[in-house]
Structures are given as structure tokens and as C-alpha cells.
Symmetry: C2
Subunit: 762 residues, 2 copies
């Protein structure tokens, strides 16, 4: 299956590994500049209040303080990452809506003074009644957060595809279950922040740890009401993103305004506590799920109602809520589907995107329920998945066009490698195995400009420079771009420099989210490299008297495929081309957007093929449970990953393992405990995540499907893999204990009580 | 003549004026970084010596010193800006050849410690006999500087075109004169220097005040023996260049090696004294010149022998020595020409390029001699120039193809505006006027890659970003690139961001020298912008149902030329194009090199058309002389400038005035006084340059010839104008005093003695 590549498909070490491993890499917090000031933000201690007055005189008098700003120093533009979610003044003018909402900011010569000054800013609040539960928020007499939403509904979506009632009628078995999932954090080590600078021309430059430099430029230009040419956003090394660093936050605007006000560069570094308060969290959900199947396990219909707590603002809600529906369309064939999702405003922290965005919650519910159904019908859990799996060529109810799918292969592979047959159904309260499956889009079309683009320029000595807007946030896209360029041009990875993610110097790319980057930016880069190869092939053809299409580029040589001694070195060829009058400096540029892809139609149950390809995954989790205490351990994961073709197997495996670790945390431990809008565990002392010693053995198998739309056959692997992890563990726990816990996270305590209750029932 | 442009031809303020005027602009010396070290260089106090031993132990022991390196820590690669001038190890290994030659370098935590450490480096020298006069150096028993040049000849060139002997035979009047010119400095306010950094991957990044970032990358890669991908050179704001910052110097290599050695960024800032010792200087010349004319002033033949003191190394000598010959080909018709030039090694500081490179010396001689001839024949000095002036369509003896020439127009304009007829020939020892003329190539073809290139990308909101390798060193090319882009796309200058002169992020450009930048980089930028306009015109044509060629782009609108209400805003058009499947992100890229231009053939008297166009200038200088003391004042300059078409008249005028000021200094004051290889006036206290109060009234008239090869008709204006200044002043002094001083600079003292001698002769 896998073609003979020179660089692609090899486990090339990340090109940024040396600087990161040695600590040499400069993150924004390492950076300094002459005259750098430090910013601190003043945040609301109340979940809901009107701002009556802000007195900043005491703060301004503190020696070392250079400026204090409030919402009145901004234009008060309401912002949100999508056109339909612009409901937030990131620095509040009139009202605060959650504990942590920003009301003012100070800049001072050092962090101590800045913090002290922030405390000296006196804010008079008129307290307002608050609401913290989405069901409560829907009641007629509930406190209202926003004028534009008197019902506190932030977003509402319906899907109705096929004939659901008929489907349930034709089913042999129908069941309904309720599931809940908790809010959780992205858990990156590097907290958020930036350095902002504003020159005398009013041009802002931001050095940011972000996933979306071009969106940041767009949104900063919007809130400052200036053209894009006046904003430059430079992504520096990012210490983790996972969806959390995907929009304009209060501190970006505050640092920009403070920089303009003072004429100095201003740095803001979020504390871990602030991140828990004011960062984005995984949206907590309440899911009612109904599924009907034939006796043989064939799914006939599915219906769900999902109520989510969006917190005080909508953030990327339009995508989140679409993804709730989308999660039913992959990875199984569902012939009839009805769905209602409601995102509700509350005075809790804001919910936003996180790896497996909007889908992981639903997949947990569906995978758990599918095992319940299989058990009831006496079908093996892997067989029911095999039966319903989407096949190549399938078109889903919502018109997703499945080009390639390795799901059945992944299920079979995992079943075999995990020792499924021997281990499944022992039910000794000690060990259990469970399977979860998932599918994921390789980059959705959003309402915003979704294209990736790339420019490649060739150095005079034959090296290549890739200019790409893509954002490497640790997932390794820069290395892949180097590999792709090297493969096309017959160079080595070391011959390629990647310049990326700077809105002034690199071409447009929407950013790192939705598992789009390899697919989009990789394809753009491949096309640009092919353009360069085309130019050079023309020159080489003349020089070697060979047809351009008979030339091969490999190992820094260009030669006739059938007569390899007719050859010229790449460097020599570049020199020849550059001094020829017709060519000159060699470069290529390309933009990529997949054909036949559309933003799903909201008027028609979101029907539309949102992506150029879909990845699939199957996972078998093996757990060890202490039946007396409920403590359990995730012992082993067998991972079948259809990412099309792994351009860098080591890197792909890292993504797979990272997804599993994230999903494990989400299923086993992670929960932002909030009381009356106040986060009670705002730090890693009390917020539990998996550590090295909690990490299971993992065995990854790449299922190669070589998608024709992907660059060298590749599909996504960065995000999709997480959606099948929670289901696999949930099902394994049931296999071990016979009980279901339908409320994430499944802590030892919950499992203990569930087992106790089950025992008492018997 | 001048077309109706919206942005071109307007005196747009420089886009970098605000940051420069407020002091906000960051020059390399303003920059700081975590862990920055300061470098100091150890320079030879001897003009010629063998390095016996270097003991750096005392320096290394000094607290705060991080590293000491010598030539042995380098590969000892011999370097030079051209292939035929690679005769210099910038950090000496065996031998020093002038006072200031670098032998070692230290890096320390601050400048004081670095300087102290440099003094502690103990170098044992074996002194060698030295030679300081080029004629002495040619003698058989002279000390030899280089093994490869046992005759101390660095470069030797002959031209022989037409039949010179016949020409002189047919002449009615022939005369011979000897002229000499002094070495002088560029006189930039910002001394040279850089910051170098080397990461763990061995990638070097240099922030440099330079005119030639791509050449620096090339040469640093060569001396470090690494590929270009391992070197990134970023030009920062430059505080003056004028030819002085055009090659790899000792400190670039030293900073790079120290950065690699220490793992820290290393900054080196040259002192003004070091600049006089170790920087490049204007090459001093001895010129023997013979010209034969008909009675009516028509030049029949010219012959010259030029002996120059190149100093210890060759630098850009191959170009300098070519330019000596070239200076005879412009701006007059010369039908027969013979020429010999000799560049000699001496133990003086190194001679390199400076504004008017290699030509200003010759032009001073020719213009002075032409006035002597005119006086002898009783022809007005302006008439003899008119008669011999190159006309459009002329092809010179050396095959320079003169497309456009406004020289006759410039002469007539200056004659009229200066009040020539009233003022000339009064000879009262008080006032005098003189004319000088010149011509200049718009960028020569050199042996190296001469193309400029540009990439333009369009922001999502309709702004434009130009990526250009061109180096703005204060001449304002960034502003011109913004104007050109704005003109092509119908935008304003503020809509355009220019990113320039960074070898990683911007496309290739050889740099700022030879007055090539507007012509080459401007044309590349124009082509790239036209490519963008072509893409957008296609989209607009479809949208507006108009043929693409009938569309006009102006004032941020695109409309049908004949039906302006059929229109779409540029921003709206960009949005339409970007979301169309066929276009996506919009960019254009282009490379420019003029057709039919060649590196002149050294085998055939340097015959060849070296440039795509030639600019011309005429100047009338008016001087006021104190006949008793010889003190004189340059009162007024009338300046006729054929730069084709002034893209930015204010900026062009600035270049003209800057050239005049430079030329004035060169004629009146500037002289590096060297005794036995030691510079005796290494600083602005003793080295005299024109100050504001010395600056004449200047009146500039742009003669528009609209060269078809230039971008919007533009030819060069940055450098060529200087070559006619010295002649004009020299002739004006003669007009006032009746004496000739043939030895630059014409100081008051020299003039006094010349007048005294003339008086005594009578």
C-alpha cells in the first residue's frame, strides 16, 4: 500500500526538538525588550454585577505604575470568534457576568507593582442575582445575563434527517439513557499571555502563544477598529493549546491598549488560577440519548437532546453546537436522526473549544449506550461496531462523503492485538476490556476564510524556505511541512527552513483547530513545492534533454528516471535556473481548499459535506479495578488509527498517545468544581490530571487508507483520536464491574457507589 | 509628459519617518535580548607583521569574560565580495596587513569588561617591512603583502576601444593633466555592528546594519562552511550606508563564532575610531588624463592611466576598477578610448565602495579638464557639454545602450535657472559658477545573482503586504514599494505593509548598491502587484460583467473605466475572490532582471550593456571665494536631475541633495590623513565634513524622460547624482579664481597656495 517515499513516512525527529529539549526555545515569557512593562488584570470577584464606578487614582499614584485602563478606554466592541457569537466586551463596560470577567488593567515597571496596583483599583459593583445551572437559567424568572437573550439561550439547534419515528418503529430494540459530562481544562503547562507593542504609527505587534494568529489579527483589528495592516501577530513557541488558545481574550486587548497608552511594550502572563477562572473550559453537557436497533444490531434511528452550560458568553458556540450533532454522524451508519441542542448562558466561566470539540461528550454517551444495547442483544461489542461502521464511499445522512475509511480494519486489528476474545466478558470485578470508535473531519469549513496557503522560495545554494501561516503548537506541523517540501523537491529535511505563523511575513492560514492543519497546510505546501518542481523540471529537461515528466527529484539530484546518469545536482540546477533570463529567483505559491466542501446548511439540519476527508479510529481499553474501593487503573490501550497515511509515524503516534492521555483524564479525573460560579480547584494541586505513572501501555497501529485528497494520503490525527477514548474506557469499566457510570468523570468514588448500589440491588 | 497617477509621483512622506523622527525606531544598538554579551575586537597596532603567538589566558581569567577567539577558531576561509577578490581572512591567522586588522575577539557580560579583556589579549608579532605608497609598492624590492601577488598588484585592467591614436591625430587640440583624489569616509552617523545568535541546531541569526543581507548570508555561510538555510540575516534600521556596509567584516564572523561558542547572543558595536581604521574608505587615485577635441569642442579621443591605493585587501575591487573605465563612457560621446587601471596593495586601510563608486574621481578629472579645453578653445563650458552629451538611442563605445537621456535638457535648464550667462566668467576672485555633468547605470550586472524579487499577499480585509528582499538604508525604497503597490492596485500607501530585507522571510535581492534598488526591486514589486491585479481583475470582470482590460483600480475601488458606477470596492472584491473555490488566498510573486543586460566582457575591454537604463545629471555650482585667504563657500547649486520619472519627488530631491552634500564634502574637506599606515584623524573632531551651515542653497529640477524600462518610467537617483558635483565645484572655483587645483580635496589652504603661485607667476 505505502509508496516508496524518501522522506515522507519516516519518523523524522521534530525540527524544533533541539531548541525545546535544551530550553533554548524562547516562549513569550522568556522574551524581553527595552522598556518592557508588566500588565496585571483586575477581575470581577462577583458572578453577576453592574459596574457602578471604577476609581483608579490610588493605583495610578503607586510609584512604578505607568497606566491604568478600564472598559471606557476601549471602543466596547462586542467580539466573538464567529459572526454569530459576538456577545462579549472582553473588558467589561457596564456589567460583569462571571467571576473573572475583566474590568480594568494596569501596566507597571514590574510584576509586583502591577499586582499591587491591580488590587488598588477600586470597583463599585451593584450585585445582581446570578444563575449557575442551565436548567435554572431556562426558567422564566431566572436572572438574565444578556439583553439580546431574554430566555438565556445562547444557541439553539435542531436536526431532523430521515424519518426518526419510522426508524424507531422498525427497530427491534430501543433504549434511552441520560449522560452528563463535566467541565474541564486543556491542561497546558504554559499559561496564556502575550507581549504587545504599539509604534507611533499606531501599528500593533503582538508576540503571542496562540493557535490562531490570523484570527487574532482579525479580531484585534475589529475591537480596535483599525485595518489589518495595523496589526501584526507573531506566534512564538506555544507550550500547549488543545483548543484553549483560539480566540481574542481580555489580556490581548488590555496589553494592546496599555502599549498604545504608554508607548512601551507590555507583557501579560496569566497565572494558573486566572486560567481556571477566565480561560475557556470544555463545555459541560446533559445528554438524553435514544437509539433503536434491529436484532442484529443494525442502528435504525437515533435521537438526542443536549443541554449545555455555555457560561457567560458564547465563544465558539456555533461550532460546538454543530459538533454535538456531527458526533452522531460519525463513525456509524445512522439512517434516521433527530437532535436538539441548547446552549444556555449562566454566570459560570465561559465554555469554549477543546480537543474533540463538542463531540467527545456525545461519543462517550453513544459508545456506552451501544455496549448496553449489544449486551442486551447478546452481540459482541466489536461485532456491533463492525456492522454499523461507515465504509468507503458511504454518504452519511448529513451528506458527509466518506472517501476512505479504515474503521472496520481498525476494529479487527484492535480486537486481535488486544486479546479481546480472551479478555472480554470475564466480569471478575478486576479486569475488563472495552472498545470505543470514532470518526473525525479533517478540518471543517467554517464561516470564516478556511484556506491555507504557502509560499516556497529557493535559496541561491539550493535550500528551500517555506513560508506558511500554519501554527505549530507542538503538534509538529513545521516538521511535516519540511518533510513534504523535501519529498517533492528531492531534498533532505535539513535543507528546508520553515517560517511560520506571522501575519505579516507568512501567507494566510486560519490556524490550528478542527484537526485541519496537516490536511490544509500540508496540501498548500505540497502544491507550492510542486510549482517549484515544475519550474525546475523545465530547466532540467532542457539541460538534460529529457522530458520534464520523466525526471525524478531525489537525494539532492535531478535525473532521468530511466537513465539516472543523466543528472544534475539540485543546487546546480537552481543556479542554472536563477541566472537564466527567463526564470530568475525561484518560488512557488499556492492556496488550498478542498473541492466540494461546504459550511453545512443551518436551514436544512446542517446537511453538507464539511470536510475533504474523514479519519477513523478504534481503541480497546483495558482496565484493572479494585472492586472494594472503586480505584482503578487504565492498564493498556490498543489503538487503531486510520490517519490515511502517517507522514511521520513517530509524530502521528505522539498525537495518538496525547489524545489518549487527554481522553483518559477527561474520563477518569478532570472536573472543574464550581460553587456559585466560583472555581474551587483552580490549580493542579486540586485539579487532577493523568501523570506519567497513570499512563497506560499503548500500542498504536496505523491503518493506511491513503486518502486521495490528503497530502501524500494523510488525514487528520491530532484531534479525532480522543473521541473514541472515553467510550472505550467506560465500556471496559462496565466489562470489569458490570455497572455503568453515566456521569463524567468516572472517579473511583462514583464507581465505588455504583458498584455498591448494584450489589445492594442483587 | 507625466501620466495621471494616483500615488506615484506624489511626495508621500516616508513610511518610516514617524518611528525615526520620534526615536522609536530600533537600531541594532537599541536591541537587547536575554543573556546578551558584548564583543570587543583585538586589532593589530602594526601595519605589517607576522602573528607569532596569541596568549589569551589573562583575558579569559577576567571575571565576566565568556569567550576569547582568534583566527584559529575560524576555518580561515579567504573571503571577498566577488569571486575574484577573495584574498582576506577577516580574522587573521598568520599575518596582519594594516593597522586595525583583526586578530582576536572577546565576549563578556558588559562593554567595559569586553574592552579590558581585549587589551589583556597578548599578541606577539614579528614586525615586517611595510609599504604605504602605491608607486613604492610597485617597485621590485617593495615589501610584499600577499603570496598570490608578488608584484603587489591587486587588480589590473585595460580598455582599448576604437582607434585612439587616430583620434588624437585627428584632434585639433590635445591636452594631458594629472589629478589626484584623497581617501575619505562614508560618514554615516551609525557605526557598523551587529547582534549574532546561534541556536543549538547551529542556525545563526544576525541582526545587522547592512546594505546587503543576502550577500552577508552567502559570505557567512561560506566562511562557516554551512548551507544558507543555517544562516538568517535580518537587516534592521540602518543609520546610513553609502556603500560602506556592503560586505562581510571581521565583526560579523567574530560575533557569530562567539555566539556559537557561548550559546549567548553577542553584540558588537564599532567605535568611530575603529570605523576609520577597519572600515572601508573611498579609494584614493592618481589619474593621468589625455583628451583630444576638434576646434568646435567635439571629443575625438580620450586616454587615461589610473593608479589606485587599494590598501591591504581587494574588497569590491573588480567593480571599482571597472567603474574607473565606465566613468569615461558616460555622459559624453567618446569615439576612441584607451585606459589602464592598476589597483595596488599597500599596508593602508582597505579601500571599498562609496556612493559614486570608482567614478567620482574620474568625473572630477574629466569635468575639470573639459573646462580647461573649453577655455582654451573659447567655447562656453555649457556649450561643450551640450555638444558632446549622449542622446537617446546612442550606443557608447563600450556598447552601453542609452534608451533615454535628459542630459541636454538638464544642461539647458541649469544654465538658465542658475543665471549662468550673467554670472559666468566674471573672474573677480569672489564669485564663480561651474558646471558638471554625469551619467550613471541603474544597477550593474555583477557576476553574482543580480535579480530582485517580490511577493505580495493580500490581507483578508483588502490590505496588501509586500515581501521584498530590498534593503532600505534610509533612501526610502520601502516607501516606493508601498507607492508602487498602491498605484497598481488602486490602494493608498497606508494600505500597504512592507516587510523587507530578511533572508528567511523575504525573497532574494542582492542589496542596496550601484543605484539598482528602485529599478530592480521596484520593477519586481510592480510585476508582482500586476499579477495580483490580474487575478482580481478576472474576478471583478465576472462580477461586474466587464472585460478585465476595461477595469480601473483606483481609490480602493475597481470599476469599469467607461461606466464608473459599475464598481466593487477593493475589499469586497478580495473577499469575493478569497471565498471562490478557484482563487483562495490572493498573492503574486515576481522576479525582475532587465533584458539584454550583461556583465561586461573582461576579454574585450569590458564591452557590454551593463544596465537597463542610464540616468543623467547636470549641476551648476556657485562659489564665493575669499581671495586673500582661500577660504570659500559653496553658495548655491542648481541641479538638473534626469531620474526618468520621480516616483516620489520629495524623496528624489532628498537623494539629489544628499549626493550634493556628499560630493561637496569630498571636494572641499574630506581626507583621511594617514602616516605610515596610521589614521591620524579617526573621528569627526579632526575629519571634516560639511555641516548644516556649510550646505548651499539647492534648487532641484527633475527632468522627466520616462524610461520605458523603469518602473513607472523611473531611473536611478540615489547614487549617480554625486558624480557631477565635484566637477561643478572645481570648475566654479576656477571661474572665480582662474586657478586649478587638481588634487582633492580642494581645501582653503590648497586654493590659497594655488592663487598665490598664480599671482607670483604673473
Amino acid at each position: 500500500m505505502s509508496p516508496e517515499y524518501a522522506v515522507i513516512g519516516k519518523s523524522v525527529p521534530r525540527i524544533d526538538s533541539p531548541v525545546k529539549a535544551t530550553g533554548e526555545a524562547k516562549y513569550f515569557s522568556d522574551m524581553t525588550m527595552p522598556g518592557l512593562l508588566i500588565a496585571s488584570l483586575v477581575r470581577s470577584p462577583h458572578p453577576h454585577a453592574r459596574i457602578v464606578n471604577i476609581d483608579s487614582r490610588a493605583a495610578e499614584r503607586l510609584p512604578g505604575v505607568k497606566a491604568v485602563i478600564t472598559g471606557k478606554d476601549t471602543l466596547g466592541v462586542k467580539i466573538g470568534p464567529l459572526r454569530s457569537s459576538r456577545d462579549r466586551q472582553v473588558i467589561c463596560l457596564d456589567k460583569v457576568r462571571f467571576i473573572g470577567d475583566c474590568v480594568a488593567a494596569v501596566a507597571a515597571v514590574d510584576a509586583d507593582i502591577a499586582e499591587e496596583a491591580a488590587e488598588l483599583v477600586k470597583v463599585d459593583y451593584e450585585l445582581l442575582p446570578a444563575v449557575f445551572d442551565p436548567e435554572e437559567a431556562l426558567k422564566q424568572d431566572a436572572p438574565k445575563l444578556h439583553d439580546h437573550a431574554r430566555d438565556n439561550i445562547s444557541m439553539r439547534r435542531y436536526w431532523n434527517l430521515g424519518d426518526v419515528d419510522k426508524g424507531f418503529k422498525e427497530a427491534d430494540y430501543v433504549r434511552e439513557d441520560n449522560f452528563t459530562t463535566a467541565p474541564n481544562m486543556h491542561g497546558y503547562l504554559e499559561t496564556d499571555g502575550c507581549i504587545a507593542q504599539c509604534d507611533i504609527d499606531g501599528k500593533y505587534t503582538l508576540w503571542v502563544t496562540t493557535q490562531v494568529p490570523f484570527y487574532l489579527r482579525r479580531d484585534l483589528a475589529m475591537v480596535l477598529d483599525i485595518p489589518y495592516t495595523r496589526v501584526r501577530v507573531i506566534k512564538v513557541h506555544v507550550g500547549g493549546g488543545f483548543g484553549g488558545k483560539t480566540e481574542l481574550f481580555d489580556f490581548h486587548l488590555a496589553a494592546a491598549v496599555l502599549a498604545r497608552r504608554t508607548g512601551h511594550p507590555v507583557k501579560y502572563t496569566q497565572t494558573k488560577r486566572e486560567e481556571f477562572l477566565a480561560g475557556l473550559r470544555r463545555i459541560p453537557t446533559r445528554i438524553w440519548l435514544k437509539t433503536g436497533v434491529k436484532k442484529d444490531g443494525t442502528i435504525m434511528a437515533q435521537e438526542s437532546k443536549i443541554l449545555t452550560d455555555g457560561g457567560a458568553y458564547t465563544s465558539v458556540g456555533p461550532v460546538t453546537i454543530y459538533n454535538h450533532g456531527l458526533a452522531h454522524m460519525l463513525p456509524y451508519r445512522v439512517p434516521n436522526f433527530r437532535h436538539q441542542a441548547l446552549r444556555v448562558y449562566t454566570n459560570n466561566p465561559v465554555s469554549g473549544p477543546k480537543r474533540g470539540h463538542g463531540q467527545i461528550q456525545v461519543r462517550f454517551a453513544i459508545e456506552s449506550q451501544l455496549d448496553m444495547i449489544a449486551e442486551k442483544l447478546g452481540i459482541d461489542a466489536t461485532d456491533i461496531r463492525l456492522k454499523n461502521a461507515l465504509r468507503p464511499g458511504d454518504v452519511t445522512l448529513s451528506k458527509l462523503r466518506i472517501g476512505t475509511s479504515g474503521l472496520q480494519d481498525a476494529i479487527l486489528t484492535c480486537r486481535q492485538l488486544s486479546g479481546w476474545v480472551q479478555k472480554r466478558g470475564q466480569r471478575r470485578g478486576v479486569r475488563g476490556v472495552g472498545m470505543g470508535c470514532g470518526g473525525f473531519a479533517c478540518g471543517p469549513r467554517t464561516a470564516a476564510l478556511s484556506d491555507s496557503s504557502a509560499i516556497i522560495k529557493i535559496n541561491e545554494d539550493g535550500g528551500a524556505v517555506v513560508l506558511s501561516g500554519a501554527s505549530d503548537i507542538g503538534q509538529g506541523i513545521n516538521t511535516l511541512l519540511a518533510q513534504i517540501t523535501a519529498e517533492v523537491l528531492g531534498l533532505t529535511v535539513g535543507d528546508v527552513t520553515v517560517v511560520a505563523a506571522d501575519t505579516d511575513t507568512t501567507p494566510y492560514d486560519p490556524g490550528t483547530y478542527g484537526s485541519r492543519v496537516t490536511f490544509y497546510a500540508g496540501n498548500a505546501c505540497k502544491r507550492a513545492a510542486e510549482q517549484v518542481r515544475g519550474i525546475l523540471a523545465g530547466v532540467a529537461a532542457q539541460k538534460l534533454e529529457v522530458k520534464p515528466e520523466d525526471l525524478e527529484f531525489r537525494n539532492r539530484w535531478v535525473f532521468a528516471r530511466k537513465a539516472p546518469d543523466r543528472r544534475v545536482s539540485f543546487a546546480e540546477l537552481v543556479r542554472t535556473a536563477q541566472v537564466s533570463d527567463s526564470k530568475g529567483v525561484i518560488f512557488g505559491s499556492a492556496t488550498y481548499y478542498p473541492d466540494g466542501v461546504e459550511w453545512p446548511d443551518p436551514q436544512n439540519s446542517y446537511v453538507g459535506n464539511i470536510s475533504g476527508a474523514y479519519s477513523f479510529s478504534a481503541q480497546v481499553a483495558e482496565v484493572e479495578v479494585d472492586a472494594e474501593t472503586g480505584h482503578y487503573k487504565l492498564a493498556r490501550m490498543t489503538l487503531g488509527d486510520d490517519c490515511g497515511y502517517p507522514l511521520n509515524p513517530m509524530s502521528a503516534e505522539g498525537q495518538v498517545e496525547g489524545s489518549v492521555s487527554n481522553g483518559q483524564g477527561e474520563l477518569m479525573y478532570e472536573d472543574i468544581v464550581t460553587k456559585a460560579g466560583e472555581v474551587r480547584n483552580p490549580g493542579y494541586t486540586d485539579y487532577k490530571m493523568p501523570r506519567v505513572q497513570d499512563t497506560p501501555q499503548m500500542h498504536t497501529v496505523h491503518i493506511e487508507t491513503n486518502d486521495p485528497n490528503g497530502p501524500y494520503g494523510a488525514k487528520e490525527v491530532g484531534e479525532g483520536f480522543i473521541v473514541s477514548t472515553t467510550g472505550a474506557i467506560s465500556c471496559a469499566l462496565h466489562d470489569a464491574t458490570g455497572v455503568w457510570v453515566k456521569d463524567l468523570p468516572i472517579t473511583a468514588e462514583k464507581l465505588f457507589w455504583a458498584m455498591k448500589q448494584a450489589k445492594e440491588k442483587k
